[in-house]
Symmetry: C2
Subunit: 357 residues, 2 copies
C-alpha cells in the first residue's frame, strides 16, 4: 500500500510546506527553541494542531543518536547468598538495557554491600564523579540516601528509588511496594485461614529492626488488620537481629514451648525460609506460614507445603520500570510518576508455576 499524505502521517516537511517556511523553522517551534518570530510561530503551531502532528519517534532517536550516549547509573546491593532478592531487580535493569540499547543508552552498575554503609557511600562517590545522566537506586541506608537525593537534585539529575521509600523525605520518584497494605493483606490471609482468636506469631528477622522502615510498616499493617477485624487475637512477637538458622531456631523453640501455640506465622521479609526450615525439621504441619519473595529456597518450601503463602511485589518489574522511567524522562522529557505502587501478589503452591516476577 502506498503511503498517503493525509493528516495522520503528516511530518515536518508537510508542516513546512503549508507554512511556507523551512523545516528548520518548524523544528524550532516544535522544540520551543528561540529565534522565531511570534507570527510564524503561531502559524506553525496552528498547523501543528490542525494536523494533529505526532513526531516520528524512530526518526527522532535516529537523528539524536549521533549526538551522544545517554549514561544511566544503577546503585543496588550486590547479589550474595543472603541477598538473592536483588537478582530480580537487576534482571529487570538488564532487560530494560537491552530494549533501549539501540537508543544509544549505556548502563553502569554500582553494587554495594547491603550490610556496609561505607560501601554504599563509596559507590555514591564514584557515581558523583562520573556524573551520569540518570540514577536508579534503592535507599538501603536512609542517611546516605538522603544525601544522595540532595546531590541529584542539585545536579538536576533525574533519579528513581525502587523497592523502598524513605519516610518523610521529599523525593522525585518511587517505584515499589506499599508496605502497610502488604502487612494488612497478610493479616487478612491469616484471618481467612485460621479461626477467630487462634494465636498468631509475628516474626521479624533482620540485622536491623529498630530503624527498618520496611519491616516496621508491614508489622504495623498486620496488627492494624486484627485491630480492626479480630481485636482479641493474640499476636505473639518474635524479633531477632541474629539472622543465622541456629538463633532463629532457638527462639522458635522457646515460643513453641509456651502456652499459646501459634496457629499461623507471618514473617515480614524473605527470611521466611528459616522458619520453614525449622517447621520442616520439627515436622510441624498444622501451622500456616506466610512470608515474602519469590526466591529459590522459598519456592522450594512452598512446593513442599512448609510455606503456604508468599507475598511478592514484582521486583523484576521495579528494576525494569525504574530504568524505563529514567529513559522516558531523559529522552522524551516524559514526567516521572511520583509514586508507582506495585501490585501485592499472592503466590501459593498452586499458582507459583505461572508467576511472572
Amino acid at each position: 500500500m502506498k503511503k498517503e499524505k493525509d493528516k495522520a502521517n503528516a511530518g515536518v516537511k508537510e508542516i513546512a510546506r503549508r507554512a511556507k517556511v523551512s523545516i528548520a523553522t518548524v523544528d524550532r517551534v516544535i522544540h520551543n527553541r528561540p529565534g522565531v518570530s511570534e507570527k510564524t510561530k503561531e502559524l506553525i503551531n496552528s498547523i501543528i494542531r490542525e494536523l494533529n502532528y505526532q513526531p516520528n519517534v524512530l526518526a527522532q532517536r535516529l537523528a539524536l543518536a549521533s549526538r551522544g550516549i545517554l549514561r544511566l547509573a544503577v546503585l543496588l546491593p550486590a547479589i550474595s547468598e543472603e541477598t538473592e532478592f536483588w537478582q530480580a531487580p537487576l534482571d529487570g535493569v538488564t532487560q530494560a538495557e537491552n530494549e533501549i540499547r539501540q537508543y544509544n543508552v549505556h548502563v553502569e552498575r554500582f553494587l554495594f554491600d547491603q550490610n556496609d554503609p561505607l560501601s554504599f557511600a563509596r559507590q555514591v562517590k564514584k557515581i558523583e564523579q562520573q556524573k551520569p545522566d540518570g540514577l536508579l537506586f534503592t535507599p538501603t541506608f536512609p542517611e546516605e540516601s538522603v544525601k544522595l537525593i540532595r546531590s541529584c537534585e542539585k545536579a538536576d539529575m533525574p533519579y528513581v528509588l525502587i523497592n523502598a521509600d524513605i519516610p518523610g523525605v521529599e523525593r522525585r520518584s518511587y517505584i515499589g511496594p506499599e508496605l502497610f497494605h502488604s502487612g494488612y493483606l497478610a493479616g487478612q490471609l491469616v484471618n481467612y485461614c485460621t479461626n477467630p482468636g487462634e494465636p498468631v506469631l509475628l516474626v521479624n528477622i533482620a540485622k536491623e529492626i529498630a530503624g527498618n522502615h520496611a519491616i516496621l510498616r508491614k508489622d504495623e499493617g498486620f496488627r492494624a488488620f486484627f485491630e480492626e477485624h479480630d481485636k482479641d487475637r493474640l499476636i505473639i512477637q518474635l524479633h531477632t537481629t541474629q539472622t543465622d538458622y541456629a538463633s532463629v531456631s532457638q527462639k522458635l523453640n522457646r515460643v513453641f514451648q509456651k502456652e499459646h501455640r501459634p496457629r499461623a506465622i507471618y514473617v515480614t521479609n524473605s527470611r521466611v525460609s528459616l522458619v520453614a526450615k525449622w517447621l520442616d525439621s520439627k515436622k510441624i504441619k498444622d501451622v500456616l506460614l506466610l512470608g515474602y519473595d519469590f526466591l529459590r529456597e522459598n519456592v522450594e518450601y512452598l512446593e513442599k507445603g512448609a510455606i503456604d503463602f508468599l507475598i511478592c511485589e514484582k521486583p523484576h518489574e521495579q528494576g525494569y520500570k525504574g530504568m524505563m522511567s529514567l529513559f522516558q524522562k531523559l529522552v522524551y522529557n516524559v514526567e516521572q510518576e511520583k509514586t508507582l505502587l506495585m501490585p501485592i501478589d499472592i503466590i501459593t503452591r498452586e499458582n507459583y508455576r505461572f508467576y511472572h516476577n
Copy 2:
C-alpha cells in the same frame, strides 16, 4: 561524548569498508538475498561475525516505513453490558497499537456477538477478504475457529489465540490462562478458608455449559483438588444456562433450603456478581465466595465483602502481548511462543487497589 568507531557500534558502512564492497552488497548478505558471489558472501559474513554486528532497529524500521503498512486484524467479542470482560483485552490491543503505530502498523478490529456464531462467521468472511498480515482472535466458537485457523495456515498468515484455547487442535500460538490449575487453585483457597468436610457449592452460569471448555476445565480442576486433598468434601453442583438474576436467585434459594448449607461458593466465571448480589440481598455473610475477573461490579462486591476472592488472568496483558507477538513475528521474524500461560492472580479486598490488569 563522541561516537567512536569501535566494534560495538559498527554498521553496514564499516562492514562495507572492510570488505571493500558497497553497502548494498552487505545488505544483500545480511538478508540472505540472492545475487552475491559465494566468496564475497563468506568474506562479509566473517566480518559480520567478527564485529558482532547488530542492526540498528530504528534505522531499519525507518527505512522500511516507506515500504508500506502492516495490517493486523483483531477478532474479539463486542463489549456489552454482559461482556465487560472484553474491555481489558481490547485495551491491551489499543496499548500495543499505540506503541507500534510508529512502525507503520495499522490495526483493524472486527467485533462479533458472543452469543451468535453467525456474527463470528460474518466477521471471518470480512477478514478473509481483507487479507491482513496477522490476526489475533479468541476462539469463542470452536468449529468456526478451527476453520479460521486452517484458513490462516493456508494463507501462511501468523495468528494468535487469546484467552481460550481449543482442546485437541494443533495451533500456532496461544496466550491465556491454564484453566485446570485455575480451578485447582480455587479449590486450594476454599480449603484454606474452610474446615475439612464443610460443603462447597460449585456454580456454573453460562448460556452454554456442555461444550464450554473453559468452564468444564475449571470445574474439573476444582474437583481434582478435593479429590486429592479432602475426598470427603461434599461438592454441591449448580448449573444454569439462564444467566439472568431471577433464574440464578431462584436456584440459589433452592440450594440453601436443603440440608447441607454451603460454606463456600466457587463460581467458574465472571458471573460471580450474580451470586454476590443474591448473598447480599439475603444478608448472608458467613459464606466464602470466589469467582473471576476484575470487572467493575465484581470489584464493588469485593469491596463490600460479598466476594472474598477474585481470580484474574491478566486479560489486558493477553491483548497486549498477543499483538506484540504478531508484530515481532512479522517485522523481525521472531518465532511466536507456542503457549504463553498467564499468571493466576489472586485478588482480595486488601490488594485490589494495587492490581494491574
